[in-house]
């Protein structure tokens, strides 16, 4: 595997163990190596040996006894199909933005395995709280990709029903949804949906957030509350190495999954470009939660292959060769290689999936372009669940005012 970041020397790491991973010895003013060097080295937050991997970038499958998973053709073909389709509509989202059909698109390119692996580990009765890049999770929750478009075209803030789909609305204020997820999981426990002998009755929640989000107070408080109430919540951090222009080293000296050590619950790091490992680890983590051993922190070590959003220009802050190196670790390629090499799939399957992807893209695009601007009264609807005379009056006055412009086509006249 390509080693993308400097690895801390074994010696330093050993010395570091005393502090749970950081290499500052107990003796003050100790001179060699310089604290600066030690800290810089540790900052690298390299992938490290702890990475759980089942399917290597070269397509070689090595089971991990701690995270057992039955791999058959149906499973792997399904995961492959998921990833290809998700990537396809993601690319179409980018294109639609370039063509002025969307104000913005948030690409997931490179994170397909991290998302499909996690998404396919969920049961219908589980609950998921996404951030804003989780199109792959949405896909697994049965949300049609076209339902995502309203957010990026500006016609709605959430095109699906969080309760019915088990998929909360996209959350844009970094980190605050993680507390909501924890609360939801506390509710699952209160409802007796944890630790039941009938495993089918059990439920868990998964919260998605990025490497940057780990710095937010809300994410900490979520971990504190989850630990305090044994909440069945999986904290699923997609470490895609960047928070817009800031590398993960800006957020932490040590690997992010170490955070769990401070709270006393399990934390693991999985190869986020290995869909099988992501699936196996998330299944394990969700099972831990369902059976009462929650919470669990999972760090999916992956890479944001594209810009932060279509508004971003990554050439200003990172080298092209970094992305090139990660390309060799592509989450889809390794599955394709394994499927082909093992004979689980042949070219007709790949062609079929490609065809399906093209059809999805066409449908996605057509839907987008045909989307209607909602009427102005939409602005006042569902601000409250119960009537609010003050707001009703604002609405009535505004609609009366608007009516005076009757002759002019309303949208666009302002």
């Amino acid at each position: 595997m390509v080693d993308l970041q400097p690895t801390v020397s074994r010696a330093v790491e050993h010395e570091a163990e005393k502090w749970g991973g950081v290499g500052v010895g107990a003796t003050p003013t100790q001179a060699i190596p310089s604290p600066q060097q030690v800290i810089e080295g540790l900052r690298a937050t390299s992938r490290g040996d702890d990475l759980i991997q089942i399917l290597s970038p070269e397509g070689v499958l090595t089971p991990d006894p701690d995270y057992p998973i039955d791999v058959d053709a149906a499973l792997l073909r399904g995961l492959y199909r998921d990833m290809v389709l998700v990537r396809r509509f993601d690319r179409e989202g980018n294109a639609l933005q370039r063509q002025g059909q969307l104000s913005i698109w948030v690409p997931l390119l490179g994170q397909e395995a991290a998302q499909i692996g996690a998404g396919r580990a969920l049961r219908p009765s589980d609950m998921a709280f996404p951030s804003y890049r989780e199109h792959g999770i949405a896909w697994c929750r049965g949300i049609d990709p076209t339902e995502l478009l309203g957010i990026f075209r500006g016609t709605d803030h959430c095109g699906w029903d969080p309760v019915k789909t088990g998929f909360s609305g996209y959350a844009i204020v970094i980190g605050n949804q993680v507390l909501n997820a924890t609360g939801y999981a506390m509710g699952q426990r209160l409802d007796g949906k944890v630790g039941s002998a009938a495993d089918g009755e059990n439920e868990a929640t998964i919260a998605f957030f990025g490497d940057g989000a780990t710095s937010q107070g809300d994410v900490h408080e979520a971990m504190v509350f989850a630990a305090a109430y044994d909440a069945p919540v999986v904290f699923y951090c997609q470490n895609n190495q960047w928070a817009i222009s800031e590398p993960v080293a800006r957020q932490s000296r040590v690997p992010l999954f170490h955070r769990a050590r401070g709270y006393g619950f399990p934390g693991v790091r999985v190869d986020g470009n290995d869909v099988l490992a992501c699936l196996a680890v998330t299944r394990w983590a969700m099972d831990e939660c369902r059976s009462g051993n929650g919470p669990v922190l999972v760090e999916a070590f992956t890479y944001r292959m594209d810009a932060h959003t279509t508004s971003d220009d990554p050439t200003r802050y990172r080298q092209a060769d970094e992305a090139q190196a990660w390309k060799l670790l592509d989450p889809i390629e390794r599955v394709k290689v394994h499927l082909a090499r093992s004979g689980m799939a042949d070219s007709s399957f790949f062609d079929e999936v490609d065809g399906e992807a093209d059809a999805l893209a066409v449908r996605f695009r057509a839907h987008c372009i045909a989307m209607q601007v909602p009427p102005p009264e939409r602005m006042f609807s569902h601000v409250y669940s119960e009537p609010n005379a003050q707001l009703d009056r604002q609405q009535a006055e505004f609609l009366t005012y608007l009516a005076a412009f009757d002759d002019i086509p309303v949208a666009g006249a302002r």
Binding site: C158, G183, S385
Partner: protein, 334 residues
Amino acid sequence: MNQTNGVAQAANPTTLAKALNMGLRASMEADPKVLVMGEDVGKLGGVFRVTDGLQKDFGEHRVLDTPLAESGIIGTAVGLAMRGYRPVTEIQFDGFVFPGFDQIVSQVAKLTFRTQGAVRMPLVIRIPYGGGIGAVEHHAEAPESYFCHIAGLRVVTCSNASDAYFMIQQAISCDDPVVFFEPKRRYWEKAPLDVATAPGGMFSSVVRRPGTDVTVVSYGPSMPVLYAAADAAAVEGKSLELIDLRSLSPLDLGPVLESVRKTGRLVVVTEAPREASVSSEIAARVTEEAFYSLAAPVLRVAGFDVPYPPSKLEEYYLPDLDKVLDAVDRSLAF
């Protein structure tokens, strides 16, 4: 009026804090989905004892002593509400709500709108507020104006035991998020409470005393100040009409406008700082809607635009009898 089902009910003198406690208990009995959560709300019963005995009777799964983090309290309550619970969160003192402000602005207030009604937020945020108790910094603030500015929230406050008992239950059964302000320096004041006779919905303002010369509106902790002022004014032959707003968002200005059309003069009394506040809003709106009725501009007796002072100075800071009478006189002199 004090009769229900033909049975006469005693209107027992009850403290405002006890009435809240009774109201919480009634809601918890009526609906198993009602939870109480906050710092020290369990064994201790809250620093003001408003949740006294609830954990003992309903258990730790219904009355949660939480870790010490307000964003955590409100943020997890949001998730519990999504799950079908009706969490009643307690913020220990007014000055401690701000670490939870983002959750309130960005999640609590927006979720229903964001999801076009798919997600409801039946969540109550109880906040003991206001000064006059000789407390240290951050324990005597009147932050209600911030919340009135947040679309998607409802903001109410009670000024006596009866309202406390009924309004807290109404807040809990409301499907929208309600910030429920409790006038902490009135917690121990007793008033008749007839649990059989609800005083009307929590979103309506109420004329507490009819009068003819000047309308004075306020809410929560300042209502007793208004009563004293009206008594004093009466001695001087001035008749004040007193209105208790009860709901700060939405404002129920109907009774206020009706009153102002009669008196032509309005004084707004509040502990909250003046600038860009709920008192500004009342003044602006009443002027817009009753412009020709006003014989004088709406005058405000409000907190000064300073951080809440050390408590030995709070008597200068807070609206009091003299300040209200002074404003009444200034209004009449216009």
